[in-house]
């Protein structure tokens, strides 16, 4: 009866050596870890549906305005995109190393791998800043000053069909399948529909970058905890959970890169 009121000593009667990280409402470390793992996977499921709404919108408009998406996509610099893809994949590797080191009680190695992961994350965000500022310079940010300049040679090939954009959005990709084909959209239509591409570009990459920032914040806490020696072979759940999160963010980019950069490249 007394253990209901006095919390402090209610554990430890049966087993004198409970792990300090075991919370009172769990029976074993195994149960506690399983709960965390299921919880994290359910959370990642919600994240998939969160990004899913954007992918849905992307799919719709890419089908309607394929030429605009291809045109706008060609204005992105494939070098930066590919570099960032490599950086993120590398960071997933370093993250996996951190989890492994935590698992086998290598405290300093865990800390170092985590720091390296954060550095790679920061590099990714740095590249993103370069890319974003490029968009600002070229008026490719949707909103007030958006301007789809005919600076790319293929844009000038607009067929000039005066069809209104609204409602008539069913651009037919089949009609324009030949290499070096003419675009099915007039410059005015391109001005509008490439803007939709960039709206999606900024929302998708922006949310992805926000997830990266959250991940780096999370990881700095985990690094500090690892430094303090909070983890051991029996309890390294937070490292593993932030690892799962980081890999998820990575995978989102693996989808974003081809969808945004590689729509139609020669």
């Amino acid at each position: 009866m007394s253990n209901a009121v006095v919390h402090a000593d209610s554990h430890g009667q049966a087993h004198a050596a409970h792990h300090p990280a075991l919370q009172h409402h769990f029976d074993t470390m195994g149960q506690q870890k399983e709960a965390a793992v299921i919880g994290m996977w359910v959370f990642l499921l919600t994240e998939i549906l969160f990004f899913g709404g954007l992918f849905m919108a992307y799919m719709l408009y890419r089908t309607w305005y394929f030429d605009a998406f291809a045109e706008a996509s060609r204005s992105l610099d494939i070098f930066w995109g590919a570099l960032n893809t490599a950086v993120l994949i590398a960071s997933s590797l370093t993250m996996a190393m951190a989890v492994r080191c935590a698992q086998v009680n290598k405290r300093m190695a865990t800390v170092n791998w985590l720091i390296l992961t954060m550095i790679l994350g920061a590099v990714f965000l740095g590249v993103k800043v370069i890319e974003y500022s490029d968009k600002f310079e070229h008026h490719h940010v949707p909103g007030l000053n958006y301007k789809w300049a005919a600076e790319h040679p293929s844009t000038a090939l607009g067929a000039g069909a005066p069809a209104p954009v609204a409602g008539a959005g069913h651009a037919e990709p089949a009609a324009a399948a030949a290499p070096h084909r003419e675009l099915s959209l007039s410059p005015e239509q391109l001005q509008l529909t490439t803007q939709i591409y960039f709206s999606l570009y900024f929302t998708m990459t922006g949310l992805h970058a926000l997830h990266m920032i959250i991940g780096i914040g999370l990881m700095s806490v985990i690094t500090w905890m690892a430094w303090k020696g909070k983890f051991d072979a029996e309890y390294y759940t937070p490292v593993e959970m932030s690892g799962l999160y980081w890999h998820f963010v990575d995978i989102v980019w693996i989808f974003l890169f081809p969808l945004l950069y590689l729509v139609e490249r020669p």
């Binding site: 009866m1 253990n3 209901a4 009121v5 919390h7 209610s10 919370q23 009172h24 409402h25 029976d27 149960q31 399983e34 709960a35 299921i38 919880g39 359910v42 959370f43 499921l45 919600t46 994240e47 549906l49 969160f50 990004f51 899913g52 709404g53 954007l54 849905m56 919108a57 719709l60 408009y61 309607w64 305005y65 949707p142 909103g143 007030l144 954009v165 609204a166 409602g167 959005g169 239509q189 509008l192 529909t193 803007q195 939709i196 709206s199 999606l200 900024f202 929302t203 949310l207």
Partner: protein
């Protein structure tokens, strides 16, 4: 017998009296109590807007408020009632309080996340209340584009942010329940020994976890559209407003099941307890909850039959919408079969359960009318629709919530409320509800559109009936506040199991200990084993 019952010396309510011991608690029961207080406040704020609507509609002329103010009234009524009352209602209060003891656990899997979800709810609520005080919002709770993106001059963004934030509260609650039900069950508590209340919450949690992120991203897109001038939903710039409707209803239709599924779970407990019988067709009732959750995700476009979707898509969605009726009917028939030859008694929770059965049946069957393509074109956006979803959301979800609250109130507080006044209140709610909303079926069928603050003279009789019924309904809702508060101090001591019910939660003392059980219970019986439960004398007024 009666004077032997005493409130136990130690329980979760007197384990610390400071404000801090509440605000920083990790006890699921205290969090549930704080949720109860928060959503009650929201309910009465949302209710005030409802009062405003009914006052305006008492006369055909738009004389009480202007058309613009009226738009804000029904919008704020919908936003607050849907996102800040109905969605958290049963899960966050009753589910939070009861799921751990029902499965024999000390707490939810993530107590800290549970507390965080409450704070997130508060922050979301503050944003929305700020938007309300700053002048309100007039888009309707559906936020259809392009009006919400470019047309409205009201506080769309603060309201949307509030809903966005509150959504995470709902996600975290659902996530917590899923993990808890998977990993925290006591020894012997197999899946098919779970109370149906827990099954219903499991299904609800799946919907919360899978649906809510989609409304979140939809709100983000709406916010960037409105805030930064993106054109994703703007038809003038090649965007598609119907895409917004698809994304919105992909969440907001399943959200109806977030509201009604827990009420169905409560209903199973009430029917079984007060007819003193094992629930008929346990596994069918359990799986029908999951079936409703699954079907709920593939019927959303029935809200958009007149929005220009293709006829073939509409036919498919119409057919799928009909299929939701199957698991719903499975439940209703199983409850009826449970009642058959049961030892039925009519305590207050059972009155609510009876009310629920009737109203849920009417609400569900009129849903079939609306899922019928041809008829929907006739009654779309009329009061017929308003009446239909109020039968489900108020007649279903709120009746279930109140029934559950009356059922478990003695467990939560250790004391009984006045049986007489609670019966009066249950009858007032039932009668008031029907007088309010049944005429709306008629007036809607006759062609009165929703969302207008004036209407032709010939609709006045039915509207006055509706407003009069709303008065009774409102009083029926105020009454429980009074006798519940009264019971906290003066109510008769309830004892651990005032209803002679069979669930594990009734084996705890009332109010329970902070850790629920002194020793983790070992479960070795099926649920609802009323044949083996010794019915003790009930300690009622």
């Amino acid at each position: 017998m009666l004077d032997k019952l005493k409130i136990p010396e130690h329980h979760y309510l007197n384990n610390g009296h400071s404000l801090k011991s509440w605000l920083l608690t990790k006890d699921h029961k205290r969090i549930a109590i704080m949720y109860l207080m928060s959503i009650s406040v929201m309910f009465f704020i949302g209710g005030l807007f409802g009062v405003g609507i009914r006052l305006e509609l008492a006369t055909p002329q738009g004389d009480f408020v202007s058309a613009d103010t009226y738009n804000k009234f029904f919008t704020m009524h919908g936003v607050i009632m849907v996102f800040f009352f109905l969605i958290p209602s049963i899960p966050a209060v009753l589910g939070n309080f009861l799921i751990p003891p029902m499965i024999g656990a000390k707490d939810l899997a993530f107590p800290r996340i549970n507390l965080i979800s409450l704070y997130i709810y508060w922050i979301g609520g503050i944003f929305t209340l700020y938007a309300m005080i700053a002048g309100g919002v007039d888009t309707g709770w559906t936020f259809y584009t392009p009006y919400s993106a470019t047309g409205s001059n009201t506080n769309v963004i603060p309201t949307a942010i509030g809903i966005f934030i509150a959504g995470f509260s709902s996600i975290l609650t659902g996530l917590n329940f899923i993990v808890t039900i998977h990993r925290m069950r006591a020894p012997g508590m197999t899946w098919f020994r779970l109370p149906l209340f827990v099954w219903a919450h499991y299904a609800t949690s799946l919907v919360q976890v899978l649906g809510t992120p989609v409304i979140a991203i939809t709100i983000v897109m709406l916010a960037v559209e409105r805030g930064f001038g993106f054109g994703i939903f703007d038809p003038a710039r090649g965007g598609d407003p119907v895409l917004f409707q698809h994304l919105f209803w992909f969440y907001s239709h399943p959200a109806v099941y977030i509201m009604i599924l827990p009420a169905l779970g409560v209903q199973s407990e009430l029917i079984s307890t007060f007819s003193r019988k094992r629930i008929f067709g346990y596994s069918f009732v359990a799986f029908s909850s999951l079936a409703i959750a699954v079907f709920g995700f593939i019927v959303w476009a029935h809200h958009m039959f007149v929005a220009g979707i293709s006829t073939y898509a509409a036919m498919v969605f119409s057919f799928l919408s009909f299929s939701v009726a199957i698991p719903s009917a499975v439940k209703t028939f199983n409850w009826s079969a449970t009642l058959y030859k049961g030892a039925i008694s009519f305590e207050t929770p059972m009155l609510y359960a009876y009310g629920f059965m009737g109203l849920f049946a009417i609400g569900g069957l009129t849903g079939l009318f609306l899922a019928t393509l041809g008829l929907d074109v006739h009654v779309h956006d009329t009061y017929f629709v308003v009446a239909h979803f109020h039968y489900i959301m108020v007649g279903g979800a709120i009746m279930g919530y109140l029934g559950g609250l009356h059922f478990w109130w003695p467990k939560m507080t250790g004391r009984m409320y006045s049986e007489f006044f609670s019966k009066v209140s249950a009858i007032m709610v039932f009668v008031g509800f029907n007088v309010t909303f049944f005429p709306q079926f008629v007036v809607g069928y006759l062609g009165m559109p929703r969302r207008y603050h004036s209407y032709p003279d010939e609709f006045q009789v039915l509207n006055v009936m509706s407003s009069a019924g709303a008065t009774v309904l409102g009083l029926g809702y105020v009454l429980p506040v009074i006798y519940f508060l009264w019971s906290l101090k003066y109510g008769q001591v309830a004892g651990p199991n005032p209803w002679g019910a069979s669930g594990l939660e009734w084996q705890m003392q009332s109010p329970p200990l902070t850790e629920n059980f002194v020793e983790t219970p070992i479960v070795n019986t099926e649920p609802y084993e009323y044949e083996h439960v010794v019915v003790k004398e009930k300690h009622l007024v």
